[in-house]
Amino acid sequence: MNKHITTLKTRELCAEKGGCGECQTSCQSACKTSCGVANQPCEAAKSDE
C-alpha cells in the first residue's frame, strides 16, 4: 500500500497478447454512433465469475 499514490485495481493490459473474441460488439450495446470500448465487459471475465 503506497502512502502518497493511490492505485485503483485495473486489468493489466501489458502482458496481453490476444483475445477470445467472444465479447459483445460495442455498437450493439446502446450507442450506435460513438463507438468506444471503455465500458464494454470482457466475456471471459464474466464467465469466470
Binding site: 503506497n2 493511490t6 493489466e12 467472444e22 465479447c23 446502446a30 450506435k32 463507438c35 471503455a38
Partner: protein
C-alpha cells in the same frame, strides 16, 4: 505515456499503455510527470524548484513509490506489441446489424439511418434466414454471435424479426452457437405482446427517447406523448433484463443532464445520451463553441451519479474486467467482424455506411465480395491510425467510429476531432466517478 489531469481537488494519473489509474496530490502528480522525462536526480531538483517548501524526505518517498509502480508495469508501460495484436485477416464475422425495415413511422430530422418508403423497404424472411446462415458460416470458432434488429423501425417488420429469431434458435442448437439478440426501436409500436417476446428472446432493447417533452418533440415528430408512456410500461415489464434508453443531444440541448434527470423521473434507470451525428451544415450540429457547455454537463453528471440509483452508459467502466488489449486495439469491428445487412441482403461495414455504394461489401448470399475493403477496415486500428499515435485515450476509445471519421474528414482513417474531444472528456469523468466511488 501518461495522462495527468485534475478533477475537483483530485489529481488523476492514467498510465495509458497499462491502463493503470492512480490518484495523488499535486506534488506526487508533478513527480510522476517529471520522472517520465528526466532521471531521478533531475526530477527531485525540478520538483523542489516547483515546490520550494516541500520536505525532501517526503519527495524521496514519493519518488520511491513512482519507481516501484514503474517496476510493476503500472507507470510508463511500453507500447502494445503491434505485430502480436494485428488483425489476423481471417474474415471471421461475429455480429450483424440487420436492417429489417428501412421504413419508419417517424421521420426524425436528425436521423442518420438509411430510410426508404418503397415496397422493398422491408426485409423478407428469406433474406433474414440467409443472414443468419451467413453469420454462422463465417463465425469460425466464435460461440457468441450477435444480431441487432435495426432500421428504420424494426417493429414495422416484427413478424420477420420473430421468424429470424426462431430460425437462429434452432440453428444455434445444431451448430454449437449462442445467439444474443438486441433491437433498437423508437417505441411507437411497443405493446405487451412485444414485451413478452422481448423478455423471452432479446438480450438488450435500446429505446429512443431524448428526454424532456419539448426536447424530444423538437426532432422526433412530436412523438413524446405517444412514446414515453409505452417506454415506461415496457421498462417496468422488462424487470432486471437489459435495456437502454438512448437519447440524442444536439446544440439545441447542451443542457442534456436535465433530459437524463427527466428520464429518471419517469422511472428509467439505464440511460445513454449520444452527441448528434450529422453534417456540419445542419443547424443543430454540435460545434467547437458548444464544447465548453457539453464538458460542463459531463462534469455535472459525475456529481449527480455519485451514489445514484441510475447509470449513464458511458460512465459504466469495469476497470478490473473490462475489455482486453486486443479489443482496445481493434475496436468495434466494423467492416470485419461486424457488418450491417440491408433489407435486400446487401452487406455494409456497419449501419452508418448503409446506402453508400463506395462501401458496399457484398451480400448475405454470396458473402463478402470485396475483401480488399474488409482488409482496409482491419488495418484501421489505434496502432495504425496516424492521429491516434500520440493520443492518451486510444486504448479506451479504440480508434473511434470509422463512419464518424469518414463524415468528418472524408476518410475512414481520418479523425472526428470534436468527437475525440468529447470522448476524452467522458473518459476523464468516468474515471473520476470511479475514484469518487472506490
Amino acid at each position: 505515456m501518461t495522462h495527468i489531469y485534475k478533477f475537483g481537488e483530485r489529481n488523476v494519473v492514467l498510465d495509458c499503455n497499462s491502463g493503470a489509474i492512480h490518484a495523488c496530490n499535486d506534488v506526487a502528480s508533478s513527480i510522476i510527470a517529471l520522472r517520465e522525462r528526466h532521471d531521478a536526480h533531475r526530477t527531485l531538483t525540478l520538483t523542489l524548484e516547483q515546490f520550494p517548501g516541500a520536505d525532501p524526505s517526503e519527495l524521496a518517498e514519493i519518488l520511491a513509490e513512482v519507481e516501484s509502480l514503474a517496476a510493476s508495469g503500472l507507470l510508463y508501460a511500453p507500447e502494445p506489441d503491434a505485430v502480436k495484436l494485428a488483425p489476423d485477416g481471417s474474415g471471421v464475422v461475429k455480429a450483424l446489424c440487420l436492417n429489417v425495415s428501412h421504413a419508419c413511422n417517424l421521420t426524425c430530422e436528425y436521423c442518420f439511418a438509411h430510410q426508404a418508403t418503397d415496397e422493398d423497404s422491408l426485409m423478407s424472411v428469406d433474406v433474414g434466414v440467409a443472414a443468419i446462415d451467413f453469420l454462422i458460416r463465417n463465425s469460425g470458432t466464435r460461440r457468441n454471435l450477435e444480431v441487432d434488429f435495426f432500421g428504420g423501425e424494426p417493429l414495422l417488420n416484427l413478424d420477420v424479426v420473430k421468424r429470424v429469431v426462431a430460425y437462429a434458435r434452432e440453428a444455434e442448437r445444431n451448430r454449437g452457437k449462442n445467439f444474443r439478440f438486441t433491437l433498437t426501436t423508437n417505441g411507437l409500436l411497443l405493446d405487451d405482446a412485444f414485451a413478452e417476446f422481448a423478455n423471452a428472446e432479446l438480450a438488450n432493447v435500446v429505446l429512443s427517447l431524448d428526454g424532456r417533452r419539448e426536447v424530444h418533440d423538437r426532432f422526433r415528430c412530436g412523438s413524446y406523448d405517444a412514446v414515453a408512456p409505452k417506454i415506461q410500461r415496457f421498462v417496468e415489464a422488462r424487470g432486471a433484463r437489459q435495456y437502454y434508453i438512448r437519447g440524442t443531444f444536439t446544440r439545441a440541448n447542451t443542457d442534456f443532464t436535465e433530459d437524463l434527470l427527466h428520464m429518471r423521473s419517469l422511472g428509467l434507470r439505464k440511460l445513454s445520451m449520444e452527441p448528434v451525428v450529422c453534417g456540419d451544415s445542419a443547424p443543430y450540429a454540435l460545434r467547437e463553441c458548444d464544447v465548453p457547455s457539453v464538458v460542463a454537463e459531463y462534469e455535472r453528471l459525475v456529481s449527480l451519479l455519485d451514489g445514484a440509483d441510475w447509470d449513464f452508459y458511458h460512465y459504466n467502466l469495469d476497470l478490473e474486467n473490462g475489455p482486453c488489449l486486443k479489443k482496445r486495439v481493434t475496436g468495434c469491428g466494423s467492416g470485419t467482424e461486424y457488418l450491417a445487412v440491408t433489407p435486400d441482403g446487401a452487406l455494409y461495414p456497419c449501419h452508418q455506411f448503409v446506402g453508400d455504394p463506395e462501401y458496399a461489401m457484398g451480400n448475405v448470399f454470396d458473402g463478402v465480395t470485396r475483401p480488399e475493403l474488409r482488409d482496409r477496415f482491419a488495418c484501421r486500428n489505434v496502432l495504425t491510425l496516424p492521429d491516434c499515435a500520440e493520443c492518451w485515450a486510444r486504448l479506451w476509445c479504440a480508434g473511434g467510429c470509422a463512419a464518424n471519421s469518414l463524415h468528418a474528414s472524408g476518410d475512414i482513417e481520418g479523425s472526428y476531432t470534436l468527437g475525440c474531444t468529447l470522448f476524452k472528456k467522458r473518459l476523464e469523468c468516468a474515471i473520476a466517478l470511479k475514484l469518487a466511488t472506490a
